[in-house]
Amino acid sequence: MQNTTPRTAGRLRIGIDVGGTFTDFVMADTQTGKVTLYKEPSTPDDPSRALIAGLEKFLQREDMSPADVGGLMHGTTIGLNAIIQRKGARIGLVVTKGFRDILEIARCRMPSSFDLHADKEVPLVPRSHVIEIDARFDDDGKLTRNPGAEELDRVAKALAALDIDAAALMLVNGYTDPQAEGRIADALSDQLPDLSISSAALIWPEIREYERALVACLNAYIQPLMGSYFTRLTAGLERIGVDAPLLVTASNGGSLSVTSAVDRPVETILSGPASGVMAAVRQASQSGMQDIITFDMGGTSSDMAVATDGTAGMATRTDIGGLPLALPVVDVNAIGAGGGSIIWADAQGVLKVGPQSAGAHPGPVSYGRGGTEPAVTDCYIACGFINPASFGGGSMPLDGPAAGAALESVANRIGMRGSDTAARIAEGALSVASAGMAGSLFRTMAERGLDPRNFVLLPFGGAGPTHANLLAEEIGIERILVPQAAGAYCAMGAAGADLRRDFVRSLRVELTEDSAAAAETAFETLQKDGNAWLDAELPDISERRAERSADMRYAGQAYELRVEIEAKANLATYAEAFHVEHERIYGFRDSAAMIEIGTIRLAMIGAGQPLSTSAPSVTGDPTQDSRDIYVNGAWREAAVYNRAGLAVGAKLEGPAIVEQPETTTVILPGWGARVDPHGNLIIERTPA
């Protein structure tokens, strides 16, 4: 089919993020630089339905055909939800004899020291489904207990007797020889052709038996679900005629092919938040900002992440529904209240925000879905920050008077009297929420030795742009960047994602001429694995690179530092890289001390096409209206702007409100804003 305007097939890249309430779509036209958004109500029973239906409608709305789609990038929380709700597959775990309780004991810690009623997390595999095998390695990689045919037979029979969908295998010291552990897994599989048995060492050969076993268990736990989901999804795409490659976003901020994602779904668990952060990093870099704090405020909570020098911070220990995940993930930290967090007063009459949340159901009082306790969103209404009539682009009008009445009853409970109590208590509650978020944010920065006041705040999520200025004021941040697509940012991140996979190997050797050479050989093997993986994912990928690092320490130290290692390193370069990092963090180097290399890490990255957003063409008059907002204990008149009508270079003076269908941006008195060449809204403190 020929259209009147010339088109290039495959010019569109579409990012999709499946959330609990909405499935967000971002369409980036690589020809024009135009970015458009679309939201479709999610279908939690089968998320692929909303995805296919939404994609079809979106293409129609934008007058594009399925053939225009050149790439689909997709993040999903199916795996995460299954883990948190413990609704994954029935799985078994095979472990070295003597370690049946590995999941029960975990790392021995209780979630709270003070709560006499605290309980531990529910193990992913019940103890009755953990089977011991007489097999293990020593720490030098020697298979000191080699299971014979009889033992393998016994274990296979025990597995067969369990009613399970998948199984994992973890042998003590298996990280020293992943291939050998893999062969034992294969030997078991040979007897059980219908059961997939994943070797922990093959998936993630890092020292620490509990964490490694958990990686394998998590993988097995969500594999059947994810597999059938992607089968349905690819069938659906085929049905509507989209044959572009489908990539799945990963927790490390990159993406994987569907084949990889079905093999190793554990790598995709935290992809949603990671994509949002990656989008933020790219967007800010484009505008020349390298050090940013992202602020993602949604319905139930708000999250932050930090990027320095244009690189998002990574973590190798994250909490997933009470379980630690050892894979490298973009380091996202929960910092407090979301739009649904409940405002209440305790028995002593002190005002509290959260931790309970009204969520999306029943939601804040103003949603009119049966919520009776006021939430943070109700405070935005009471203060005039958001217009109840135009919430969600007018698709979901809110009940402002009900929000006010609910807030007044809390005001009453803390003994607040006089006029404007709803607005006053709302402002107080927003200050409590901001102080709580700022506290968590300061702690996260203190952990890294960073001063947040040198950073740019980059808000996204439905409430991020609404609350960002309040938070910036509380922290002492001077500049805020509100991207155009703030309301569908995880989808935006997906659209621009690189391909990326992490590889590790635990060496645990003293650093010598020989071991440095051995580490290089190990790096080369990882690099080879990485290249082979990239070739299989997308053979024609133009730009590829490997990022190498090693966990190192002085012999006898109780902790390791992660050090970047350049290519073709030798003894001297390893040592110097470590000394320099140690000096940077602890202020001294010990040139005489022996250095040890623990785990080496390699991230293989295939760069996606840079997604340069251009400023949107202006539609309509920017100034819609004005309304009073309640700030610093008084009502102030604020101009209300339509974001779509703001041209590049437009300048606004606070107090002001900028509205767009997915979110509302608040600019406080004493602050001003301008639209930068990429269409971002840059909010800065007005010089006094």
Binding site: E104, H117, D119, Y210, Q348, G428, A558, Y559
Partner: protein
């Protein structure tokens, strides 16, 4: 004025607490020793003019020290070295000279005054358990120390930093009295960095809020916490509740050590009276409370308040409704120069008796006894460079007690410290040991309608000739973690070398044990107590425990009256067995404690300790030993593991009573 706007109070409470956590994170980031990096044996807080903590971290560092007091140390310094000035930092580690701020010598405590316009607006405080402060043994702690002088350098409260400059004199003494002076200085620098973080962040708050507001918030936050604690106390039935328990021994003799408390709750107030507790011991288990409502004596009360009202802010106000009587010269208020290095072993038992006493008032809220032991199992082996490698294999703990409606937690216990374990693979990479079994101990959890948490088992083979095994803090090998409301006690702990082999050797507590290559060492920690009559446990719950392997079929039959027939649940036989069982005669304490109490009854022990405390300090220990040994002489040598017969009991009680009348 302490009444503050309820919005501002919440905001400032959050901010101050956040500052203390930032201080901790700075300390953890810049610290370098094991205690800082791995076990998080440190804390930071903010104190007001009264030297009490008005803000304390909730999620990082040692949780129990919220009740410590800085003022005596501050006053001691001012008296000798003059007023505090900006840039001064106080250092101390001496429990006696700091009036209980420090609780054993390896804990270095620092206090820095934070100034605003020439006035002190708050104090920053932090402490770190440092690697070594000299003394008789490496790492400075041994249960066998008899005086604090053997435990290392005593640092009375002193200005380490004067107007920003470190005192060379103090530093010279510090360096000369440690086996690890550089590591200590690294910790000191990390502490100074954390105090500087606190100073900067308090200054930042001063830029955002009125100084007067910040000062009155300190009092208001304490009032707020006190109000929360009082509200919780009012929800507890008023009355007097007494409870006692024993440490198996004092590490130097076979004589058990008694801790006792009477709690009185009335009108939103609580009084803890430790009368009846044994005189201080000649080993290092004494708790230097200086007679104050010390952190180690009040932790369980804080936990109770925070369990019943998790929204309560963590600060010293929580302790305001509390008063205390800890008799001078007793285990819980020793006289100088008693050694205090391993006071945590006694503190765990103090936690237990407070738990037990509270349970008399709140049987449906409080759990049964937790396993009550934390054993850092250490292996020391010769290394290639001619020295020795010393490394913790695992800090071995047990489980938590059951409570109404909930089984205890298996293999975890946050009671007094919430340490993470070591991955077996890192242990094997660093030591010549092969871990054969690291798991839960079936049948160890006390039976009950709700089952106590299982203890743990760690079994490892020694691969290097000339190795030693160290295991401080072994406890509950004799007296079991008690059950509650009819629940049974957990199984006691044990230590066996080469179990099941001709060279099998069963041991009690050890200090340093020499082992050979090839030896297999097996530690078992106690299970925790159960709650309620085990014969009323739902059969499905027992069956689930059997399926999971936490309970064996034999134990299910004996302790729960549950019958399996060819591996299948037999409802009829179970009902019959449960019906036929006479009401349980066993108490919740277990046979050893019952045997002990049959002679050393609580009333007699109260009398004995009153009499001993009336003697001069130098006489108490020897007199106690003489009395107990002569009474025990009439009893079986394995008493109280094997009970006394009637004749023996009568003779022994008679002897004890004779002694008591002569005291």
């Amino acid at each position: 004025m302490t009444r503050l706007d309820p919005v501002l109070l919440e905001i400032l409470g959050n901010k101050f607490a956040s500052v203390t956590e930032e201080m901790c994170l700075t300390l953890q980031r810049t610290g370098r020793t094991l205690y800082v990096k791995e076990t998080a044996d440190f804390a930071c807080a903010l104190a007001g003019a009264d030297g009490r903590f008005f803000a304390y971290p909730r999620s990082i560092g040692v949780s129990g020290f919220v009740g410590l007091e800085c003022l005596p140390s501050i006053e001691a310094v001012i008296a000798l070295q003059g007023a505090l000035e900006p840039g001064d930092v106080i250092l101390t580690n001496d429990p006696y000279r700091s009036t209980g701020l420090a609780t054993h010598l390896p804990d270095l405590h620092m206090i820095e005054p934070y100034f605003h316009n020439g006035e002190i607006i708050a104090y920053g405080w932090c402490f770190v358990h440092c690697s070594d402060v000299g003394g008789r043994v490496a790492s400075s702690i041994s249960p066998l120390n008899t005086e604090i002088f053997q435990e290392g350098l005593r640092i009375p409260p002193v200005k380490l930093i004067r107007k920003g400059q470190m005192s060379n004199e103090v530093r010279l003494f510090l360096d000369a009295n440690s086996r690890t002076p550089e590591a200590n200085m690294g910790d000191i620098n990390a502490m100074l960095a954390s105090l500087a973080t606190g100073r900067k962040r308090v200054a930042q708050m001063l830029g955002q809020h009125d100084p007067q507001e910040l000062s009155s918030a300190q009092g208001a936050l304490m009032d707020y916490a006190a109000g929360k604690a009082e509200a919780v106390l009012r929800s507890i039935p008023e009355g007097k509740y007494s409870f006692s328990d024993y440490l198996d021994d004092d590490a130097a003799s076979r004589l058990p050590v008694r801790v006792a408390v009477t709690i009185e709750i009335a009108d939103g107030k609580i009084h803890l009276d430790f009368t009846g507790t044994d005189p201080q011991v000649a080993t290092a288990m004494n708790i230097p409370s200086c007679g104050r409502p010390h952190a180690w004596l009040t932790l369980r009360m804080l936990a109770l308040v925070l369990t019943l009202d998790p929204s309560a802010p963590l600060n010293a106000g929580l302790l305001r409704p509390l008063s205390i009587n800890a008799p001078l010269g007793s285990l819980v208020n020793p006289e100088e120069p008693a050694a205090t290095g391993v006071r945590h072993a006694a503190a765990i038992r103090v936690n237990d008796i407070l738990n037990g006493a509270f349970a008399l008032a709140l049987p449906d809220v409080m759990p049964a006894a937790a396993s009550g032991t934390v054993i850092p199992i250490v292996v020391s082996e010769p290394n290639a460079t001619g020295g020795r490698t010393v490394q913790v294999v695992e800090p071995l703990i047990g489980g938590t007690g059951a409570r109404k409606g909930h089984d205890g937690v298996d293999g975890r216990d946050s009671g007094i410290s919430n340490l993470a374990n070591n991955p077996v693979e890192t242990v094997e990479a660093e030591l010549g040991v092969e871990v054969l079994h690291y798991g839960l101990r079936p049948d160890s959890g006390g039976a009950g309608e709700w089952r106590g948490g299982c203890g743990m088992e760690l079994s490892f083979r020694i691969l290097t000739e000339g190795s030693n095994v160290l295991a401080r803090g072994m406890e509950r090998l004799l007296f079991r973690p008690w059950g509650q409301s009819g629940g049974q006690p957990g199984k006691p702990g044990s230590l066996v070398i080469n179990e099941g082999h001709p060279r099998e050797h069963r041991l009690g507590k050890i200090d340093v044990l020499e082992v050979s290559a090839g030896d297999v060492v097996t530690f078992r920690t106690p299970g925790a107590g159960g709650w309620g009559n085990p014969f009323e446990r739902a059969p499905e719950a027992v069956l689930a425990d059997i399926e999971a392997g936490f309970v064996t079929p034999e134990c299910a039959r004996r302790d729960y009256g549950l019958v399996l027939c060819n591996g299948v649940f037999d409802a009829e036989a179970t009902a019959a067995l449960r019906e036929a069982a006479s009401p349980k005669s066993a108490t919740v304490f277990g046979p050893e404690r019952d045997a002990w109490d049959s002679i050393f009854a609580p009333g007699l022990m109260d009398q004995l300790n009153a009499g001993l405390l009336a003697l001069p300090l130098s006489r108490r220990q020897s007199q106690r030993r003489e009395i107990l040994e002569t009474v025990l002489a009439d009893l079986p040598s394995s008493f109280p593991r094997s009970p006394a017969n009637d004749t023996q009991r009568k003779t022994a009680i008679h002897r004890l009573e004779t002694w008591l009348s002569s005291l």
